[in-house]
């Protein structure tokens, strides 16, 4: 990690660039490899003289809106890899299309590459001081750098007295952009400059403080940190919220406390327009940039959400903005601030004024509240119909009952169409009641004052009903939204859980997220040469270099890139790294069809949850694969050891017998010697065949050639090839004619049968019968080899299939290799069959059964066909 040194100035013209260049030159004289990344000399002779002493990296030309801009060439510097690079104007905003939106992000990448950086910065560009500076200079700069970058930097304040700076300004020695000259003339007043200077010095001191504290903490000294202050700032979508965030940052710095920007998502969020969403996202981003956490809590009422979060986070301080709601609103609803102060004991509540008037909020509340035109038409129709009906029935109704009847449309309108339509219904009803029924009828005058009460009741009912309904509806909507989110997550998890194939998993992740957000999605995973697309929703497409670079950057740096992020934002895609454990596993890309921002800020929490789940699923697959690898290695090692001992024994024994018997033949041949040679040679042959088979199993080289075969055929071939092992036994091959064909690899099945027959021939006493029996009952197809040998150790029948398994006490002279039955098992399973070993129940003897599941059975192949 490279080190950053910032030359901090109170105002333009104090000589930061000059100081930086001088310092750089001093380092170069010490033998350090120094280059200039980017420096603006603004034509000043002294500065240019200093630049000449350095190697200057050429700038990268970026064309933007017809102009050509020279931006710092980040990649060239990374490739050049100097020890120290000088980068002017840390707060600079890069031309659109650059990798990062801001120069300080370039610097962070340089630092990450291990390159030291010297840079310059003016105090008003520091994010958390932006407000403060603007408040007394009335000049607000748009280019800011997050405070976090200062915290890792060594800071040198470049300071000259205000009078001197003003002199320099008058002498034309300070470069100011043309368009800013007028605005800045106010900026350079003596009082402003003094204040800025103080700020710069204080900020530098604070940075030193922070670094000291970090140092202390790193050494484990402990100390004042344990104060345990935790600050929460409640934010909303209104324009002044960023001021609250900066205030929280200042308090948090002063208290050395962690802090969180909390957004309570209520019903209001559903009526947000693009502007509100963007402002809220900007505020959340600001909080992240300033080093705070961001949390979103869904709740019906803001106060309840804040209370719940404070409790959960064990916060000690709360910062809220002063409400701009009218007195009347507060009287009706109670002040949020009052309730918070009252209901959160133990939490210090700071109330700050919001900077900007809440223009948007009145517009917001207005929208949609008037109700639909349809609602008014229905309401009018209902009132009209009721008036007509009541007129018709008036002769049997008294006046009070008519008033009661009018409650019906009022309640209906308030319930169905909301407050204003309800009030309209109340007014219309009372007018109709008044006009048609209250004496004197046909006028809107009321003769009896008692009847005025009826009118008020109608209006009151409209208000109360609509309020109650609105609240119930809001709660239902919140619950439904929450249920939708939960259902989406649960469904996602449920679909991911059973998948054990990486490509299927990526496809499911793509499709689910695409469906949930109505976006195009793609999952990229690391390949041999960078990221490759593993799955994508929708039609096939190709990524341009820009997209791949953005995805790669997201993967390498574990940060979101692309549209809607601060990095490589010119891409149409937004890339989200999917990280499980320490490592980024994949990158998820999102894009909307219209090329706009793929996600609204309120969708980010859900995306984060989904990505977490996806990461877990990917991690699960990776772990499973690792486990399999480890297990495979362990098994292979065990087999290799067993193989060596087996080979040395099982190859040498028959060889010794053959060589000995052959030597004996010189003294005359006896049938016994010849039999020994033949038998031992056959045994060697089978052992070599089994070794070859086992090697194929081990290498995973069983290229199955599946075809439909007849079991009688298979048995006939096996019995023929195994005839030497079966010599002397009565063989009963009982395969009934009604057996269907099975789909297997006939070579593998042949070897299974050979080994089973060989095994039976070896362990069963000569002259005892060996039976091969096929059965086909209840859709189960089985082929059994049954002998009359000693059988298997009770309770340990299944162990017989383990590689190199030979039971203790079994007669070594019979010459088992311990490979044959393991091969039977491996081959059977490779073909989708199972194999079972059991002892006979009627007498001693073993009973091996190959079971063919229904999937392998051929139904009606050519049965009744032309044969």
């Amino acid at each position: 990690m490279g080190r950053l040194k910032i030359f901090l100035g109170a105002a333009p013209g104090v000589g930061k660039t000059y100081d930086m260049l001088s310092d750089g030159a001093a380092r170069a004289r010490d033998g350090v490899d120094v280059v200039i990344g980017v420096v603006e000399t603004h034509g000043r002779a002294e500065t240019e003289a200093l630049v000449r002493g350095h190697e200057v990296m050429p700038r990268r030309a970026v064309s933007y809106e017809g102009r050509t801009l020279g931006e710092m060439d980040l990649d060239a510097i990374l490739a050049r890899a100097p020890r120290l690079v000088l980068v002017d104007e840390l707060a600079h905003t890069n031309a659109p299309g650059s990798r990062h939106a801001k120069r300080y992000q370039d610097v962070e990448e340089l630092l990450a590459a291990g390159i030291d950086v010297y840079s310059t910065l003016n105090i008003q560009h520091i994010e958390s001081l932006n407000d403060v500076v603007a408040s007394f200079t009335r000049v607000r700069v748009r280019e800011t750098v997050p405070d976090s970058i200062l915290e890792q930097a060594e800071i040198e304040v470049v300071d000259i007295p205000p009078d001197e700076l003003i002199e320099r300004l008058k002498a034309g020695k300070v470069y100011l952009p043309e368009e800013a000259t007028r605005a800045l003339s106010h900026f350079f007043s003596k009082s402003n400059l003094s204040a800025l200077r103080e700020l710069a010095l204080r900020r530098a001191a604070q940075a030193v403080d922070t670094q000291m504290l970090d140092h202390v903490r790193a050494l484990g000294v402990g100390g004042t940190w344990a104060g345990g202050e935790r600050i929460v700032v409640a934010i909303n979508e209104l324009p002044g919220a960023d001021g609250l965030v900066r205030a929280a940052k200042r308090s948090a710095d002063a208290l050395h406390a962690p802090w969180t920007a909390l957004y309570i998502e209520t019903q209001r969020a559903q009526s947000f327009g693009e502007a509100e969403h963007r402002r809220l996202a900007a505020t959340m981003n600001l909080a992240t940039q300033l080093g705070g956490n961001v949390a979103t809590e869904p709740a019906i009422a803001i106060v309840d959400g804040i209370k719940a979060y404070l409790q959960e986070a064990r916060a000690t301080q709360l910062i809220v903005g002063k409400s701009h709601r009218s007195r009347l609103f507060e009287l009706r609803h109670g002040s949020v601030v009052d309730r918070l102060v009252r209901e959160t004991p133990g939490v210090a509540v700071h109330v700050l004024p919001l900077d900007a008037p809440p223009v948007a909020s009145t517009r917001l509340r207005a929208r949609g509240a008037w109700g639909s035109r349809r609602g008014y038409l229905w309401t009018s129709a209902m009132v009209g119909a009721l008036t007509a009906a009541a007129s018709a029935l008036f002769h049997i109704l008294d006046l009070g009952n008519v008033a009661l009847l009018y409650l019906l449309p009022v309640m209906a309108a308030a319930t169905l169409f909301g407050l204003r339509t309800g009030l309209f219904a109340g007014i219309a009803s009372s007018l109709a009641y008044n006009f048609f029924f209250l004496p004197p009828t046909g006028t809107l005058t009321v003769s009896n004052p008692e009847n005025i009460i009826s009118i008020f009741v109608l209006l009151g009912v409209a208000i109360v009903t609509s309020q109650l309904t609105a609240r119930v509806r809001a709660q239902a909507d919140m619950a439904a939204a929450s249920a939708r989110t939960n259902a989406a997550l649960a469904g996602f998890l449920r679909r991911l859980t059973p998948i054990d194939d990486p490509i299927a998993l990526a496809r499911t992740i793509c499709e689910d997220i695409a469906r949930l957000f109505d976006l195009r999605t793609v999952v990229l995973v690391p390949g041999d040469t960078g990221l490759v697309v593993q799955a994508a929703s929708g039609p096939q497409f190709r990524f341009e270099t820009m997209e791949l670079a953005a995805a790669q950057w997201a993967f390498d740096n574990d940060m979101p890139t692309g549209k809607g992020s601060g990095t490589l934002a010119a891409s149409d895609w937004y890339f989200q790294p999917v990280r499980a454990g320490e490592k980024v596993q994949a990158v998820l890309g999102l894009a909307s069809d219209d090329g706009g921002n793929p996600l609204r800020p309120d969708q980010f929490p859900l995306l984060a949850s989904l990505v977490d789940q996806a990461a877990l699923a990917l991690e699960r697959l990776r772990l499973a694969e690792e486990m399999r690898d480890v297990e495979a290695v362990r098994t292979r090692d065990r087999l290799r050891a067993a193989l060596l001992s087996s080979v040395s024994h099982d190859l040498r024994t028959p060889l010794t017998a053959v060589m000995g018997a052959a030597a004996e033949l010189r003294h005359g041949a006896t049938p016994e010697l010849i039999g020994t040679i033949e038998g031992e040679a056959a045994r060697l042959n089978r052992f070599v065949a089994n070794l070859l088979d086992m090697a194929r199993v081990e290498a995973g080289a069983l290229n199955l050639k599946v075809e439909a075969i007849d079991l009688a055929d298979a048995v006939a071939a096996a019995a023929h090839d195994a005839r030497r092992s079966l010599e002397g036994h009565a063989i009963n091959l009982a395969v009934p004619p009604a057996m269907p064909l099975v789909k297997v690899d006939q070579q593998l099945l042949h070897h299974c049968l050979l080994n089973l027959l060989d095994n039976a021939g070896r362990y069963a006493d000569p002259a005892t019968p060996i039976v091969i029996e096929g059965t086909h009952n209840f859709g189960l197809l089985k082929l059994s080899v049954i002998d009359e040998g000693p059988g298997l150790p009770p309770g340990r029948e299944a162990e017989v299939f383990e590689t190199f398994r030979r039971f203790e006490g079994s007669d070594r002279a019979v010459g088992g290799t311990g490979l044959g039955l393991a091969i039977v098992k491996a081959f059977s399973e490779a073909m989708g069959m199972t194999v079972e070993a059991a002892n006979r129940t009627d007498r001693s003897g073993a009973h091996f059964t190959l079971c063919f599941p229904a999937a392998l059975i051929v139904r009606n192949a050519a049965e009744g066909n032309e044969i």
């Binding site: 057996m739 070579q747 192949a861 049965e863 032309e866």
Partner: protein
């Protein structure tokens, strides 16, 4: 006159073993160590049969089958490795008469050789009657008799069995049987043949003695076993 057999193998021990076996059975054995000398010897000595190892150092074994076949109408018995099923079928398609698998059984080798030589001297017409042990099949009448049990053969069963009987003791490839018995219908699947064989076994083989009449040559074809 004893038949002259050319043994082609690059391994001295195998040549020595085969010479021993052949001479014991009354044949005259001559030896070649590679494909080039095998072709030369075949041209000069005009052997009645060639025992050909397919894995020769200098020539592809299948190519050699073709060249030998072109030189003269000699019996070719292929000696091949265990799992080389495709190679066996290819050799048979190219005109080889039969094959044995290494490591081979001397008696089996002699039997194959005898059958192949006999077929060369006889015309390959199906006999009217096929007999083996208790079994008697009347191919004209399409009737199989085993002891008292008498069963009728279907047309396909008859066609298949007649072809096998004409080549008794000799392997007949699946493709050849399919071409003969399912003539006209292109590409009849091997499954049809397997079902016909399964039904035939039921009719002509004794219960508990699957494979006693029709031997299954794995992946290659079928062989009707002779009495000898």
């Amino acid at each position: 006159m004893s038949a002259r057999i050319l043994v082609v193998d690059d391994e001295l021990s195998i040549r020595r073993l085969l010479r021993n076996t052949l001479e014991r059975a009354g044949y005259e054995a001559i030896e070649a160590v590679d494909g080039r000398s095998a072709l030369a010897l075949a041209a000069i000595e005009k052997p009645n049969a060639v025992l050909l190892d397919l894995g020769l150092p200098d020539r592809d074994g299948l190519e050699l089958v073709q060249l030998l076949k072109k030189q003269g109408d000699t019996v070719i018995l292929v000696v091949s490795a265990r799992d080389a099923t495709d190679q066996k079928v290819a050799a048979l398609d190219l005109g080889a008469d039969d094959y044995v698998t290494k490591p081979f059984d001397s008696e089996e080798l002699l039997a194959r050789l005898r059958v192949a030589l006999r077929h060369r001297s006889l015309s390959e017409t199906a006999p009217k009657i096929y007999r083996k042990g208790e079994l008697e099949v009347d191919l004209d009448q399409r009737v199989a008799r085993r002891g008292d049990v008498e069963t009728h053969l279907t047309r396909k069963e008859h066609d298949v069995l007649a072809l096998l009987a004409a080549n008794v003791g000799r392997v007949v490839t699946h493709q050849r049987i399919l071409a003969a018995a399912w003539h006209g219908s292109e590409e009849a699947p091997v499954e049809y043949l397997r079902i016909v064989i399964r039904n035939l076994r039921q009719k002509i083989e004794a219960p508990g003695a699957v494979g006693s009449v029709i031997a299954n040559e794995l992946g290659v074809g079928y062989r009707l076993l002779g009495d000898g």
